[in-house]
Symmetry: C2
Subunit: 463 residues, 2 copies
């Protein structure tokens, strides 16, 4: 059968929850609660042999009993029952299915056989399947999710994730929702990817107007050539950042038992991804910190950074980091910038970029010093992005941070990233103030530079 | 004149504050407020030409007017007045002086001349000087500090810092105090180190019973041979961890204008430090996260880690990190451990270390699964340390964390490090619960492993 597009996965008008449960805390109930919390506008049709009602929705006892015209099925049954369930969904006209169950090729030989059986049903019926062994997917523009992790309302935003793990529609999404201030468009846990794989999803996201940047965690490429071909195209319009798990022998062995996947030779893959414009990262955390920066600020036009530091030691250390591990350079600043920075500093201070702003702060006050130094750098045509490390402590004269929002408005084409040194309660308050208004903050002083470098790499392939 | 020891710097019985101020917010007042807040038991004698009282202490108008028998002077005067002030301190019998002022060799040629003048006075008088261009030092066992950054009461603990920057007795100390739950013994901002240098301080800390671990930020070694000789000895009894700023050309250039110091050839130094047992790190943040681990937990006996993970993806990624960037290995677990882990997991799950604990949690509940997996690994003679990544979210059944404190008591010789995935508010609450009781937590999942690796390196030289 010909493969249908993924549209009905992301914009379903109706969804059957097979294996729905009335018991609070059970995945078969949580998935329905998530749909309600996200304001899903379509029909929700629980299926459970016991019948009755779940969360107010009348329950069908079998898939066969479901009305016709349903687009999607979320199947929460044990592994062994899933091939038959797919067959029944197909017979009822349901063309898209999410399979939550684990217990397939990732565990043992019996699971491998079951996975083969599943593939055969998919081939015969033409039903498109996400999973198995997935925690589901998220599509905020359509107020939809198949996640069975208790999430509640998921914030909408320009970032989309493709993940070969359930994490991203589970605990990590919860971490983003509770700890960060950016939102997602689509988020897909591929699981064992017996049908829908990373290439299918990347193709969908390439043309998805709601997705501005794509972040990927993969342990294997099921169709590397197709994936790379699509990537070459999409990286011209959208940043694509990827962490490849299983890059080492130890990691690859772990990947085998996680998603039953065998990665390709890592060096070959590394070169191919680079050629396709996919920016590879080596730490999990940057899938979130870089996503935050991409969601809130423009992608930097180039690698020339202006850095406002409260400490000479930070300038020394960050210079080392940037020199050793990034393509970033500290801009040679224009004469006008130089003059302005000298004007606001005590006479004996040597001014250059990075700017040690503390001498100016001791003379002019904290807010004036940071504001004027950041403004001068943002005005400079030689500067593509500005990173400032603030020192916040009431006793030093409270710094009102409105000026940073003003700078964001005045220089919308240049990223501004903020980090901190000093009182952690003040830093947390600054984060809560700045991030909902679109200025990303980073607790570790190294991170704004590493994140900027990731997005500078993305810039290279953008047309 | 012969050089006296640094005892009077760390245990002064009386201190003159030259350039004391009655104006709130001025460094010359803040330094006195810090002394009061820390409960300094000795005499505090402000000096200011205006006389009167500052914070209740009678003010001497000149250094000459001070009573005799004062051990230490904190001199808060402009750079140009400092050579004369040292001379006057010497004449008054003050043998230890902290010089806060900047404006010496780090800024210009006039400053270089002034610094030479200062050195000459020091040579002639034999006064021992910390600075100039320092934010002071801290000595919590003696309730003393010369810091003029508003700090308040500084928590006591086993970690000592040597820093060629004012940061550590300023904003970074504030960050530790507000964001972490460990304390310091001694903390020394060397500044331009015209007299007291890193070798002097390391020698003091080597024999200091209050210092259990030493963390160092340096941009240059003033007496590399002496420093390395002392280091070889001290690293046999105490971990010594160092970040060397200016490791690259860019960083070295920045160091020149920060502390007027020219580092040695970095590769040569790298080998020499390694031979001396000093563990070199490459990110500033680890000066605090590794210090926290060293303060709260024993130094690991070896490099064999047990890892309890809520996600296969974390196992894959952390395996990559450990393989590529650390000396850590995941222990081959004993048969009894294997059996126990299998007993608490669903039958189809392949058990090994790292342990994917989620299948067990879905069957047995979160708390049981983590507790039993961590216990099994801690009991295993093949495991030197255990890292667990928790998932905390009320809806998943709240995990009571008392069992972690219990494990700390039962296995006092094995480090336990905690990280998180999931709800950030719960993570923050867990940190506030665990850290005051001596269990370190790390927000980034990569960090417990990187920190463990740092301390495993330290273990190698410990006798």
């Amino acid at each position: 059968m010909p493969r249908s597009s993924l549209d009905s996965f992301f914009e379903p008008r109706s969804v059957a929850v097979v294996g729905a449960s009335s018991t609070p805390g059970k995945p078969g109930r949580t998935v329905i609660e998530n749909l309600i919390a996200n304001g899903f506008k379509g029909r929700i049709l629980p299926v459970n042999p016991r019948g009755g009602k779940i969360c107010g929705f009348p329950v069908s006892k079998t898939i066969e009993e479901l009305p016709s015209g349903i687009q999607m099925g979320i199947v929460m049954l044990p592994a062994a029952q899933t091939p038959a369930a797919i067959q029944e969904c197909a017979e009822r006209g349901i063309s898209s299915v999410v399979l939550a169950a684990g217990g397939f090729a990732e565990v043992d030989h019996a699971g491998e056989d079951l996975q083969a059986e599943l593939k055969e049903v998919i081939r015969k019926t033409g039903v498109r399947v996400l999973g198995p062994n997935t925690a589901g997917h998220i599509s905020t523009p359509d107020r939809f999710t198949s996640s069975f992790f208790p999430l509640g309302k998921i914030p909408n935003g320009p970032i989309s994730y493709i993940a070969q793990t359930g994490n991203f529609t589970g605990a990590m999404m919860r971490s983003i929702m509770s700890g960060e201030h950016y939102g997602v468009a689509r988020c897909i846990g591929l699981g064992n990817a017996v049908d829908i794989d990373e290439a299918d999803v990347l193709e969908f996201l390439a043309d998805d107007p709601k997705t501005k940047s794509i972040f990927i965690y993969l342990e294997s490429l099921h169709r590397p050539q197709t994936f790379l071909k699509i990537a070459r195209k999409v990286t011209r319009t959208k940043p694509v950042v990827m962490l490849k798990g299983g890059a080492t022998e130890g990691g690859a062995k772990a990947a085998m038992s996680h998603t039953a996947s065998l990665g390709s030779d890592d060096n070959v893959l590394d070169g191919a991804l680079k050629q396709a414009g996919v920016v590879r990262i080596d730490e999990f955390t940057y899938l979130f910190t870089a996503a935050k920066a991409a969601a809130m600020m423009p992608i930097p036009a180039g690698n020339r950074v202006g850095f406002v530091s409260p400490s000479g030691a930070f300038i020394v250390h960050i210079s080392d980091i940037c020199h050793q591990r990034t393509d970033l350079v500290f801009s040679k600043i224009a004469a006008a910038t130089q003059k302005r920075l000298e004007d606001i500093s005590p006479p004996f201070i040597n001014i250059s970029n990075p700017v040690d702003v503390f001498p100016s702060a001791t003379v002019n006050g904290m807010e004036f010093a940071w504001r004027e130094a950041m403004t001068a750098l943002l005005k400079d045509p030689n500067v593509d992005a500005v990173v400032a490390i603030l020192i916040l402590a009431d006793e030093l004269g409270e710094m009102k941070l409105d000026f940073i929002l003003d700078l964001k408005r005045r220089f919308p084409e240049k990223p501004i990233y903020i980090s901190f040194s000093g009182d952690e309660n003040s830093n947390a308050a600054a984060k809560s103030f700045l991030e909902p208004k679109g200025v990303p903050t980073f607790p570790r002083i190294e991170d704004p530079f590493k994140v900027l470098d990731i997005l500078v790499q993305c810039r290279k392939s953008l047309a």
